[in-house]
Symmetry: none
Subunit: 398 residues, 2 copies
C-alpha cells in the first residue's frame, strides 16, 4: 500500500494544463494502472480537504467523523506513547516567552536537543492525574494526560502568533472544567521548571532563545480503534517518516518500522524506504509505505520538483512491483501547487493483483483513473476492498 | 449555480428516444460541458424522487434526511417569515366548506385577494403559543406556531379531496397531544372568524364560494441550518420564483432577490432573471438562479415545450458564461414528460472554472455526463465541492 502524500493536483498552466502526475514519466505507475483496477477516491468526503491524520484513519478503514477529535492522540502515538482510549493528548511546542508571558518565538529558535528539558518536565506531578510527556523532533513534543473525568473540549494555550500573551486553557464545555484547571496548573509548573533549567541558563549565555514555555494545541481524546489484526486477521507494518502517519498506524496496531534517512522531505531516501518495506513484507501481510515529499513541493508551489519526485518514486516502485501479490497505489489528499495546501479534490487509486477485475485504464493520474472500474469511492472503503481481494474479509449475514 | 427545475428526462419515443436535453440545440450548455467537469447526481439518494424543498436543501449542502420533516417551514420561510429552530409550520389552503364541515372546494374558487382575511386570522390568540400567519399567492397561506413543548408529529386537517368532512388534527405521537389540541382550537377559531367575515358575506352575494376554512397540511419543524456564510464564508443570494425554493434559500441565510416577471411558468422572463443574477454577483460570491418552467412542461407531458424552454435557457446562459469565475449547471430532479411527475433518476451536472480537472465530455445531457470526471455523486456534496474549488473549504484534521 503505497501512499504518496499530496501527489494529486489540479491542471497546472505551466505544464500545459496537465497535472504533475499527467506530465511525469512514470512507466511503473502506468503499468500498475494497466494491470489493475482504477478509480477516484474521496479520502474523507467530497469537497473536504483531509489532514494527514484524518486521511490515514480513513485509509486504514476507520471513519474519521466517528473517531477523530483532534491531532493530539496521533502526535502522541507517533512519538511512541502507548495511548489508552480516553487519554487526552496534545501537540506541544517548546517556545520562548518573556517575563510578561508574551510569546517571542513559537519554536524556541528551532531548538534541536530537548532531552534534558523532557526529563525535567516528566517529573511534574498533577494530583490524581498521570502525565506522559515526550520530546519528538526539534522544538516539537507531545503531552498526554490520563485520569478519570477528563475531556478534550479545551482550548489551546498556543496563541498561534508571536508578540501575544500565552493563553489560559479554557473549558469549551462544562465537563472540561477540571481538565482546563489541570492543564493550566501543568503550564505554570512547566514554566517554572523550564525557566530555571540549566540548559536554558546556558542558552541565554550563548545568546540563544530560551525554551521556557510549552504551548499546547490540538487537544483530542484517544479513540478505541479496533486493531487491523483483529479486524482482518493480518499482520501489518508501516514505513513512514511523518509523525502523524506513524501515530495513526500505531493506534491501528501496525508495527512501526523506523528507517534512517527517511526524512519526509523531497530528498528522502526512497531506496531505503523501499528496502525497509520489502523486508517488512517478509513477515507482514500488509505494509503501508508513505512517501511525503510531494506535499512539501506543493506547499512551495514547485511543480518541477513535484514532477521529479513523481519520477523518482516511480523508479523506486520498480523494486516493489514484482515482489508483492497485491499493490495498491494511492494518495492521501490533493495538494495543488497552485493552492499550496490540501484541497478536497478526489485522488486517483489503483489496485493490482491476481483477483482484481482489471479495467482498460492505461495511465495512473487524476483524469485517467476517473474512468476506471472502481468508480468513485470513499477512503474508508479502500482497506475493506483490499482485504476482501486478499481473502481476509468476513461475510456479513448468513 | 443555475438550477433548471425538472429539466432532466427519460428517453422520449416522439424524440427518437432522445431526452429533451439530448434533442435540444444548446451550444452554451455543451460549451460548459466541454470546458468543465461532468457527472451524474442523485440529489437525495438513488431512486428517490426529490421534492423541491428537499432537493434544494441537498443542493445547498444540507442532509435532507436530517433536517427535513415537512414542507411547512420552507413554505413559511418562502413567504418571508423569520423562523426560529423548533417552530412548527404548515402549508395552508383557504377552502370552502358547508355547514356540516364538508369540503366543497379545496381552493375556495381560487380566491385571489385574501389580505382582509389574513389580517383577521392574525388576531387569533392561543394560550401560551404565538401564531404567525401569512397569505401568499391566491388561495395559499402559511401558518407557524411558536412555543414550548410543541411537535410536528400531527396529521393534516386537509382531507385532500372534496365532498369529505374536514379532519381533526390528530397527534401522531404522545408528545404531540398539546400541539394537536392547539391546532384544532385554531381551526375552530379561524372558521368562526372566516364564516362571519364581511369579505365572505360579499362573496356569497356575488355567487362566489366562501373562503371559510383553513386546511392545514405539511407539518414540519423548523431545523437549525448553519448559514452558508458561516459554513463557507461567502455571501450568497437566490434568484427564484418558487416559494419553496426561496424558503430553503432564506433558511440557509441567502439573500432573496425578487424579480418582477419571474413567474415560475414556461413564459417566465428569463432575461430579467439573468440580469438580476448578474447584478447579485456584483456583491455576492455565490448566486443560485432557479428556472422552473421545465417542470411545468413535463407535468403537462409537453416535450416540445420542454425542448423550446431548454433552448431559451441556453440562450440566456450566454449572458452569464463570460461573467462568472465558476459556473455550475444542474437540475434538482428528473421530471419525465412520460410520467408527469418527479422521478428518482439521477440528473446531469457540470462545473466549469479555472481549478476544475476538465474531462472529455462534449455534451450536457443525461447520458453524456454519465461518463464525466465527477462520477456519480450525492446532491449534498455539490456545494462542498464547489466551495473547495473556490478556495472556501476548511481542512478536517491536521
Amino acid at each position: 500500500m503505497l501512499i504518496c502524500d499530496g501527489m494529486a493536483d489540479r491542471p497546472v498552466p505551466e505544464l500545459g494544463n496537465l497535472t504533475p502526475l499527467e506530465a511525469a514519466q512514470k512507466p511503473n505507475m502506468n503499468g500498475i494502472a494497466r494491470r489493475g483496477i482504477c478509480g477516484l477516491m474521496d479520502t474523507i468526503a467530497p469537497g473536504v480537504p483531509p489532514g494527514s491524520d484524518t486521511a490515514h484513519l480513513a485509509l486504514l478503514g476507520y471513519d474519521p467523523f466517528e473517531v477523530y477529535t483532534g491531532r493530539g492522540p496521533f502526535e502522541a502515538a507517533g512519538a511512541g506513547i502507548d495511548l489508552r482510549a480516553g487519554d487526552i493528548a496534545f501537540r506541544v511546542n517548546y517556545a520562548t516567552i518573556d517575563e510578561k508571558l508574551i510569546v517571542k518565538d513559537r519554536r524556541a529558535g528551532r531548538i534541536q536537543d530537548t532531552k534534558q528539558l523532557e526529563v525535567s518536565i516528566q517529573r511534574i506531578k498533577l494530583s490524581g492525574t498521570q502525565i506522559l510527556f515526550k520530546s519528538t523532533v526539534a522544538h516539537r513534543a507531545t503531552l498526554v494526560i490520563r485520569g478519570k473525568g477528563l475531556s478534550h473540549e479545551v482550548s489551546d494555550s498556543d496563541p498561534h502568533k508571536t508578540d501575544t500573551k500565552v493563553l489560559r486553557v479554557k473549558a469549551l464545555s462544562s465537563k472540561a472544567a477540571k481538565t482546563a484547571k489541570l492543564l493550566n496548573e501543568f503550564s505554570r509548573k512547566a514554566y517554572k521548571v523550564l525557566k530555571n533549567h540549566p540548559l536554558n541558563q546556558k542558552r541565554s549565555k550563548q545568546g540563544l532563545p530560551q525554551a521556557n514555555y510549552l504551548l499546547l494545541r490540538g487537544a483530542g481524546v484517544a479513540p478505541h480503534l479496533e486493531p487491523l489484526q483483529q479486524k482482518y486477521g493480518f499482520k501489518s507494518a508501516c514505513v513512514a517518516a511523518a509523525a502523524l502517519v506513524k501515530g495513526v498506524c500505531r493506534m491501528a496496531g501496525m508495527e512501526i518500522i523506523e528507517v534512517p534517512g527517511a526524512t519526509g522531505g523531497v530528498n528522502t531516501d526512497l531506496n531505503a524506504k523501499a528496502k525497509a518495506a520489502l523486508r517488512a513484507l517478509e513477515n507482514h501481510e500488509l505494509v503501508l509505505l508513505h512517501v511525503k515529499g510531494f506535499d512539501e513541493a506543493s506547499h512551495d508551489g514547485n511543480h518541477n520538483a513535484k514532477v521529479k519526485l513523481i519520477e523518482r518514486t516511480d523508479a523506486m516502485l520498480g523494486q516493489l512491483i514484482d515482489k508483492t501479490d497485491y499493490i495498491m497505489l494511492t494518495i492521501d489528499h490533493t495538494t495543488p501547487v497552485s493552492v499550496h495546501d490540501h484541497t478536497g479534490d478526489p485522488v486517483p487509486i489503483v489496485i493490482s493483483g491476481p483477483a482484481v477485475r482489471a479495467d482498460d485504464v492505461r495511465n495512473y493520474d487524476e483524469r485517467s483513473t476517473a474512468k476506471g472500474g472502481l468508480g468513485r469511492i470513499r477512503g474508508k472503503y479502500l482497506l475493506p476492498i483490499l482485504a476482501d481481494l486478499m481473502g481476509k474479509s468476513k461475510k456479513f449475514g448468513a
